[in-house]
Symmetry: C2
Subunit: 372 residues, 2 copies
C-alpha cells in the first residue's frame, strides 16, 4: 500500500551527502535528522515541551516495549501514540524485531515468525510480520518498519538464513499494511557481508518501499565495515527515497553516515549516557561526576546553546549527580540531545550552502585533536 | 540588623485572612503563598523553567543539606544559591535546626549549639546559632531563619528547656546576622502548650524580627491543637509582619492557616507524593498507579490548568508509573505543585475581592462531600 501523505524531497546534495525534507501527516522532518528514542512512549527524563524547545522533529518509539506494556489496543483506544504521549509531531516505530532478538532471553524463530518470552514478566508471546504491522498500525506512527530478523554481524550462515526470512517477511509486511497515512520502510540486512547486503538492498528496492532502513549495524562491527556497507548500499538504494541508519549514534558515526548518503539516525545514546552522568560534546564525552568539576562555574559545553548550558554550571550538575537528584538526568538528557540536534542542523545547513566538505573536515580535525 | 531591601504590606484583609506582598531583593512574593521545597538546591524532578511556568514565586532550600553537600563555601564561590540553582526569584532557607533534630541519628544539644553526625556519611559536625546564620549568609537566600531547637510537641519539660534555648539562640542569631539584603525570621516554638507559645511569640516580638515563623507544627499534633496555636499566635504577632507556618502542607491545612492569619507555607508534600505516585487535588489524593486509571482518557484533575492536566491522560501517567519512567515523577510534581499554587492564588484573589469566607466554605464543603 503506497502512502498517500508521505513524501521525500532532496533539496541539496554535496558529494554523497543530501539535505532534504520528509513530509508526513504530522509535519515535515528536515534531513539529515537525528531522532531521540522514546522506548516506552517517553524520551526518558524529558517532557515533550522540552523536546520541542530542543528542535526535535522526529521521535522513535519501540513496538516491542509498547506491545508488551501498555499494549497497542490500549494506545489505539486512547487515540494513538501521538496523543497518548502528547507528541503531535512525526513518530517512527521500529518493528520489534531488534528487541525480540536482543532483549528476550528465550526465542524460537521459524519461517512464520518468532516466539519469545517477555523480558518483563516471562510471559510467552509471538510476533509475525503481520502482527508487527498490525501493532504498528494501532500505534499509528508516521513511519513504520518491516519485521526483520537480526543476525550477529559475523555469522555468515546465520546471516544467509536470516536474510531469506527477512526478505519473505518484507513481502508479507507490505501485503499486511493497510493504513495509507503511514510509510512502511524496508530494512536492509546482511551483517558485514557485502554480497548479502547487495542482494538485500536490490531485493528491497524491487519491492518499491517509500524509504529504506539499514539495520544490523553499530552492533559490534568495525567502523571500516560499517562504512563499506553504507557505501555499497548508497549505490543501490534509490536517490529519491530516504535512508535511515538504525541505532546510530555517536557524533562521529552520524557525520560518517551523512557523508555516505544517510538521511536519518536514531539512538538511545544521548539519554542513556545522561543517566550514567556522561555529557556528549562534539569532541568527546565528559564524566560529569568527576571531582574536577566540583567547583567549575562553566557550562558543560561553552559552544552549546541548550537550556542546560545557558543556565547551569558543571559544578551544579555534578552536585545533582552526587546528591542523586533526578534533575541531573533531565539536564544531561537535554544537553546530549541538543548536541546531536545541533550537529545535524549544522550539517544540513552546510549541505544547503555547499560547505559540507569543510564542515566535515573541521569536525574530524577536532576529533583528532582531542584524541591526540 | 534590619533588612534594607525587604518589606511587607498587607493589601487586603477578610476576617483574620490577609492578602499582601513581600518585597525582596529577588522580586515580590504575593501572599498567601505556597513555596515548594528544593532540599538539595533543586525542587525534585522539575526544572526552574517549569517552576516559573507554574507561577512559583518562592522556593525553600535546606541549610542542613546544603551545608553537608556541596557546602556553603562552594555555593558562595559559585555566586550564591540563586545562581547555583538558577532560581533568580526569591529563596528562603531554613536554619538547619529541624533537620538536625529529625534526620541526624546521634546528636548532643548543649546551650551553645548542637553536635551531630551527617545522615550521609556519619561525619561529625557542629551547628551553632552563629554558624547557622553564617552558612545562610553564604547561601544568600532572601529570607533566612533563626536556629532553633525542635522539641516533640507533647513533652512539656523538653519544650520548656528547648524554648529557653531557642530564645537565647534567637538573640545570638540576630547579633550574628550582618547581611542587610536578607530578612532573618524568628521562629515561635512551644509545642502544643499555649502558655509556652504565648511566651515564645511575645519574646520574639520584643526582638522585632522582620517576619515570624511558626515552627514545631504539623509534626504529630491534632488539627485542633494546631489551630489553637495559630489562633493564639495570630493575636500576638504584629499585623505588619509576615507569618510563616513551616512545613505545611495539605490543601486543608493551608486554607485553615490562611483563615488564622498565616501568609506563607512550605512543604515537601507535593513533590514527595509525586514520587510515590499520588496526585493531589483539592478534594483528596488519587493513587495514579491504581488499575482503574489504566484506560482513563481524562486528565488527573479536569479543573486543573497545569501542563500535565492540559496534555496527558490518567492512562498515560499510570503507564509511566508502571513502566518506572522518570517522567511520571516530573508530571505528577508539576501537577501537585500547581494544585497548591492555584489554591493559594485563588485564596488571595478571594481575599482581595472580599469573598474569602465563601471560598473557604465552598472548599470545606467539597472536602466533606468527598469524605462522605
Amino acid at each position: 500500500m503506497n502512502p498517500t501523505s508521505f513524501a521525500f524531497e532532496v533539496t541539496a546534495r554535496q558529494g554523497r551527502a543530501r539535505a532534504g525534507m520528509i513530509h508526513t501527516p504530522h509535519g515535515t522532518i528536515p534531513t539529515p535528522i537525528f531522532a531521540p528514542v522514546g522506548t516506552q512512549a517517553t524520551v526518558k527524563a524529558v517532557t515533550p515541551a522540552q523536546l520541542e524547545e530542543l528542535g526535535v522533529s522526529l521521535v522513535l518509539s519501540n513496538t516491542y516495549h509498547l506491545y508488551l506494556r501498555p499494549g497497542a489496543e490500549l494506545i489505539a483506544e486512547l487515540g494513538g501514540l501521538h496523543r497518548f504521549m502528547h507528541w503531535p509531531h512525526p513518530i517512527l516505530t521500529d518493528s520489534g524485531g531488534f528487541q525480540v532478538f536482543s532483549l528476550s532471553e528465550t526465542r524460537q524463530v521459524d519461517d512464520d515468525g518468532v516466539t519469545f518470552r517477555s523480558h518483563i514478566d516471562g510471559s510467552r508471546h509471538r510476533l509475525t510480520p503481520e502482527l508487527a504491522v498490525e501493532v504498528q498500525e494501532k500505534l499509528g506512527a508516521d513511519i513504520i518498519m518491516a519485521f526483520d530478523e537480526c543476525a550477529p554481524p559475523y555469522d555468515r550462515a546465520y546471516n544467509e538464513r536470516a536474510l531469506e526470512r527477512t526478505h519473505r517477511w518484507a513481502v508479507r509486511c507490505l501485503k499486511a499494511h493497510t493504513r495509507t497515512d503511514q510509510a512502511l520502510f524496508g530494512i536492509v540486512q546482511g551483517g558485514v557481508f557485502l554480497d548479502l547486503r547487495e542482494k538485500s538492498a536490490q531485493f528491497l528496492v524491487s519491492l518499491d518501499f517509500p524509504g529504506y532502513a539499514i539495520g544490523g549495524l553499530s552492533v559490534g562491527e568495525t567502523k571500516d565495515e560499517m562504512h563499506a556497507v553504507l557505501e555499497l548500499v548508497d549505490g543501490i538504494l534509490p536517490e529519491d527515497k530516504p535512508r535511515y541508519l538504525m541505532g546510530v549514534g555517536t557524533p562521529q558515526d552520524i557525520i560518517n553516515g551523512i557523508l555516505r548518503g544517510v538521511d536519518m539516525f536514531d539512538c538511545v545514546l544521548p539519554t542513556r549516557l545522561a543517566r550514567h552522568h556522561a555529557a556528549m560534546t562534539r569532541n568527546g564525552r565528559l564524566n560529569m561526576m568527576n571531582a574536577v568539576y566540583a567547583r567549575d562555574p562553566s557550562p558543560i559545553d561553552p559552544q552549546c546553546s541548550c537550556y542546560t548550558c545557558r543556565n547551569f554550571s558543571r559544578a551544579y550538575i555534578r552536585h545533582l549527580i552526587v546528591a542523586r537528584e533526578m534533575l541531573a538526568a533531565t539536564l544531561l538528557s537535554i544537553h546530549n540531545i541538543a548536541t546531536l540536534i545541533q550537529l545535524v542542523t549544522e550539517a544540513r545547513e552546510a549541505i544547503l550552502t555547499g560547505t559540507f566538505d569543510e564542515f566535515a573536515a573541521a569536525f574530524f580535525a577536532l576529533q583528532n585533536q582531542s584524541n591526540a
